[in-house]
């Protein structure tokens, strides 16, 4: 498939951050989470189903997200995930870590841009 052309492999551990960030907009189900990540990354990030569901269940076990069965927009029964208070805190911490990390990467890879 052509859309695979410029696909980026997800970095280890970043999927959790993306899921938490997506759920900031409100509860939704697994499929929608995957689509949202794909869309908002302009199709650069492709979420593998094989890692999405284990990640969701792991986050649920850690208490960062909670799940409940609700009806989807098309009226089907779907498992909806929402962010918990602990998840919100985790998201802030993870994002701060990521910002530091990406700034650091940027500084090393493109030093000229970073200097005034």
């Amino acid at each position: 498939m052509t859309r695979d052309r410029s696909r980026v492999e997800l970095l280890q551990g970043t999927l959790d951050l993306l899921i938490l960030r997506t759920l900031l907009f409100g509860p939704t189900h697994g499929h929608a989470i995957a689509k949202h990540i794909q869309r908002s990354s302009e199709d650069l990030l492709q979420v593998e189903t094989g890692s999405l569901y284990p990640a969701l269940h792991r986050l649920e076990a850690q208490g960062w997200i909670a799940a409940s069965w609700e009806l989807s927009e098309k009226g089907k029964r779907a498992k909806f995930y929402r962010l918990t208070a602990r998840g919100r805190k985790q998201l802030e911490a993870a994002r701060a870590r990521w910002d530091t990390f990406s700034r650091a990467m940027g500084l090393v890879l493109k030093p000229s841009d970073a200097e005034p």
Binding site: H29, G30, H31, A32, E48, T49, G50, S51, Y53, P54, A55, L56, H57, R58, A61, W69, S72, K74, K76, R77, A78, K79
Partner: protein, 872 residues
């Protein structure tokens, strides 16, 4: 506990969770499909695209389940369910596996529990690992002596600064008569140095212990009693502290009671009363400087090494002494049984190893048969580790079943092993008896798990190799399945069987040699009994009672002869005296012979022939001429070339030493001390001329109904005096058996387990061959189709088996010789290279191989080539 509850709760909810997960993934699939439809694909194409997107649903579900955390329990439950199913599908294998594992693990557990009790149980004292004991190596024999004089002890105690405490304890606690208001009772008394309890760090539960007295001060006449004696004799009365009893001529006061768990430092002797050595033996007494009668026990200061102590104390004592751990106390039994028990441990270890190799081999064949199933499971998404774990679970199930049953069997095996010990070791038996303590349980559990891994891990890894996963095909490339592994396992089994049977062989032959030799006695229809009349009666009265008992027993129905001797034949002891001859100058190197005091008829009762002269008679009394009967060795050595009748000699020492005895008879040689030693030069004296022994051994030749005779004799003895003590009322053959206890123990244990190992190995060989025949059916079919005769096919299989046998023997026989050489001091009348044993073992193994290989080879030769080839 919390974990368990959580797991249980999880199990109850797991069904719903599974359904939820299925629904969630189905929803994802539906959404994906809807999306694909929306982008203009047909329904079929959309479904395929969605499936492609999701990937392997089983794997996604599996990975997701892994995120739930506690799937370990769930998988284990699933594995166990599956394992039970598989095990039930192969009941013969399962039964054989559990049965052999039960015996293997059970035997090892039993021997471990005995070794544990004998070697590892430390004394119940403060910091037992600091305790050390002094030993001295004898320059000639190299055997260590652990007994010293009291003076040695004192010089160590005063001279050593590296030992934080030094105590002495007499070498063996002895049963002694003590008197309490003229009532006599027997108690085990142990003489110990006055600082004994302080050095050991044992505090009393009542009263006080005795303590080291300052130099010059007179010690008190006090004793410490054991809790058991306090309970049994004083009925746990607090007033026991302060009570008195008489020991010899002294009045002793009970000062304190030792804790219940402390019964002294001797493993097979439980002490009732401890008495300070210093009080009993006067400071200037000769027995402080002569006679090695005490053990020297030291306590190592925490930062000192044994080598430092050795150097220091060697300088202090002026003898080449060294120290070794005394954490487990003293034990003659341990010295006697250590080597044989190690051998028994080797035997049962080999049995378990053979069992493992055998099961591993059968498992290897079994897994090959399941190649297809394993391949299917791999294709369905099971990881290699998952399949390996599944295969291991099956064996863990069998091994744990074997281990659990093994604990039960261990109880019986332990009891059977301990039944070899004579009743005289009763106190030790308490410490050795099989008990389900933590150490035994951990040992058995570990043994089961190690067994399981050794049986199953290698075959499981082999059969799940990525290469093997092409087993979905009609015939996998691995075909015959690397027969060399299976063959070398068989060779290993044969080698170990050889080792085991060789050990059994040489020990059975040793026992045979020991029992089969002419010992100069006849054990048929001979009952013995150790008879003791109360010591307080005095020698004269006791001698009268002994004679009366002899006379009364002699008229019991069917009894031929009743006689007695002052020591028991083949009971490990004898009195030796230096001899002198009136017509010769005293030689510097005086001749020595064994003396024995016997009643008239004793030689006849024991079945020892009188070659010349006469037996003692009732006319040989204390007042008549002292007489003696010498044995043929005595006559040949001291009166060479002439008839000894009428010649005279005397013994040095003893209450009638120096008195001339006239030789009146010559008896045949007879083994006296034990069966291993050559018959010694001996002379017999009439008990009436030199008697006064506390215990005499009666010999009663009569009916073969030993039980009836023993009961009749006991009744007669009690009729003579109510207070008579009878011990060891047994057929003489049992006394003979006891004297070769160690040899019999090893022979019977290795014999029994050798047969077991042989059966296991034969069944294993049969199983592997039978499987190989099925496996190579096509090859055999081709061979027969192109003209091989059934006979040549049969020979091919037999040849293979016998080749394995030959290689196994070639490894096993030298290995056995190496092991047996190490214990060659326990053999009798043969060398480790005993050709009879080697030939016998070879024949037995060849017969077993033939029996195991015949049926499969026969089946191979009767293969119908058409059917075999059409099957493809």
């Amino acid at each position: 506990m919390k974990r368990l509850l959580r797991s249980l709760r999880w199990l109850s909810r797991s069904a719903r969770r599974e359904a939820d997960l299925r629904d969630e993934l189905q929803f994802h699939l539906d959404e994906e499909m809807d999306e694909a439809r929306a982008s203009g694909l047909s329904a079929d194409q959309a479904r395929l695209a969605a499936r492609r997107d999701l990937g392997n649903v089983a794997i996604v579900a599996e990975d997701t389940r892994a995120a739930w955390g506690w799937t370990g329990a769930a998988r284990l439950a699933q594995d166990l369910r599956y394992a039970i199913r598989i095990v039930r599908r192969r009941p013969a294998f399962a039964i054989a596996a559990v049965l052999t594992l039960t015996l293997g693990i059970g035997a090892n557990t039993a021997v471990f529990s005995i070794l544990d009790g004998l070697l590892l149980e430390t004394l119940p004292v403060a910091r037992p690992h600091e305790l050390v004991q002094m030993v001295e190596r004898r320059p000639q024999t190299g055997a260590p002596i652990d007994a010293f004089t009291y003076q040695h002890y004192e010089s160590v105690r005063m001279g050593s600064r590296l030992l934080s405490g030094v105590a002495a304890a007499s070498v063996y606690p002895s049963a002694q008569g003590i008197f309490e208001r003229e009532e006599r009772l027997t108690a085990v008394v142990h003489f110990v140095s006055d600082n004994y309890f302080e050095v050991l760090g044992v505090s009393p539960i009542r009263g006080r212990i005795f303590r080291q007295t300052p130099p010059g001060a007179a010690g008190e006449l006090i004793a410490v009693i054991s809790e058991a004696f306090w309970r049994s004799h004083y009925a746990s009365d607090p007033a026991a502290v302060g009570a008195t009893f008489r020991l010899g001529k002294r009045e002793v006061t009970v000062a304190g009671v030792a804790p219940a768990r402390f019964r002294g430092v001797h493993f097979e002797r439980a002490v009732d009363i401890w008495i300070p050595y210093e009080i009993v033996v006067a400071p200037n007494s000769e027995s402080r400087t002569r006679g090695r009668s005490v053990h020297v026990i030291g306590r190592l200061a925490p930062d000192r090494s044994l080598a430092q102590i050795d150097a220091e104390v060697t300088a202090v004592v002026g003898r080449p002494v060294s120290f070794q751990s005394a954490a487990t106390g003293f034990s003659r039994l341990r010295q006697q049984l250590f080597q044989p028990l190690l051998l028994v441990e080797l035997v049962v270890g080999l049995v378990l190893l053979i069992t493992c190799v055998n099961l591993a081999n059968l498992t290897l064949s079994g897994n090959l048969a399941r190649e297809r199933e394993l391949a299917v499971r791999g294709a369905l998404g099971a990881s290699r580790w998952r399949i390996v774990r599944q295969l291991l679970t099956e064996h863990l199930l069998l091994a744990l079943a074997g281990g659990a049953l093994g604990l039960v069997v261990a109880y019986w095996i332990s009891a059977a092993l301990l039944s070899f010990l004579p009743a005289t070791y009763a106190p030790a038996l308490i410490g050795l008896r099989f008990e389900l303590d933590g150490r035994v349980l951990v040992f058995t559990a570990l043994l089961s798990i190690v067994t399981c891994l050794s049986v199953a891990l290698f075959p499981a890894l082999r059969s799940t190799r990525p290469l093997a996963s092409n087993g979905l095909g009609v015939k996998s490339a691995s075909g015959a399945g690397r027969p060399w592994i299976s063959r070398s396992l068989i060779v290993g089994e044969v080698a170990m069987c050889t080792l085991l049977l060789m050990i059994a062989g040489v020990f059975l032959r040793s026992v045979q040699n020991l029992r089969g030799q002419d010992g100069g006695y006849s054990e048929e229809a001979l009952l013995v009994a150790d008879v003791q009349f109360p010591i307080e009666y005095g020698d004269d009265r006791r001698d009268v009672l002994i004679e009366e008992l002899r006379a009364r027993a002699a008229v019991l129905p069917e009894v031929e002869i009743v006689a007695y001797s002052h020591l028991g034949q083949l009971s490990g002891g004898a009195f030796e005296y230096r001899l002198g001859f009136p017509d010769r100058p005293a030689a510097a190197d005086k001749p020595i012979a064994i003396e024995q005091r016997v009643s008239p008829g004793f030689l006849g009762a024991m079945g020892t022939r009188i070659l010349q002269g006469r037996d003692f008679t009732a006319a040989d009394t204390a007042r008549s001429t002292p007489v003696a009967i010498v044995n043929e060795l005595f006559a040949a050595e001291f009166f060479p070339g002439r008839s000894p009748i009428g010649l005279r000699f005397f013994q040095e020492g003893g209450s009638r030493g120096g008195e001339l005895m006239e030789v009146v008879g010559v008896a045949a040689r007879s083994k006296w001390v034990d069966l291993r030693r050559e018959a010694p030069p001996m002379y017999y004296r009439p008990y009436s001329q030199q008697g006064g022994t506390p215990v005499v051994r009666f010999a009663i030749r009569g009916p073969r109904n030993y039980d009836g005779l023993a009961a009749a004799f006991t009744a007669t003895a009690q009729g003579v005096d109510r207070k008579v003590e009878l011990t060891n009322v047994v057929p003489f053959s049992e006394i003979v058996d006891r004297s070769i206890l160690v040899e019999r123990l090893v022979a019977q244990v290795s014999g029994a387990f050798g047969v077991l190992a042989l059966v296991i190995a034969a069944v294993g060989l049969y199983g592997v061959l039978a499987y190989a025949v099925t496996r190579r059916r096509r090859e055999i079919g081709v061979r027969i189709a192109i003209g091989a005769s059934p006979g040549s096919v049969e020979r091919m299989f037999l040849r293979e088996s016998f080749l394995q046998l030959a290689v196994g023997l070639a490894i096993g026989v030298p290995a056995a010789i190496l092991v047996i050489r190490y214990v060659s001091s326990m053999l009798y009348g043969l060398t480790p290279y005993d050709p009879t044993a080697i030939v016998a073992v070879t024949v037995v193994l060849a017969a077993a191989t033939a029996a195991a290989a015949y049926l499969p080879a026969r089946r191979a030769s009767s293969t119908d080539p058409i059917v075999a080839l059409r099957d493809e």
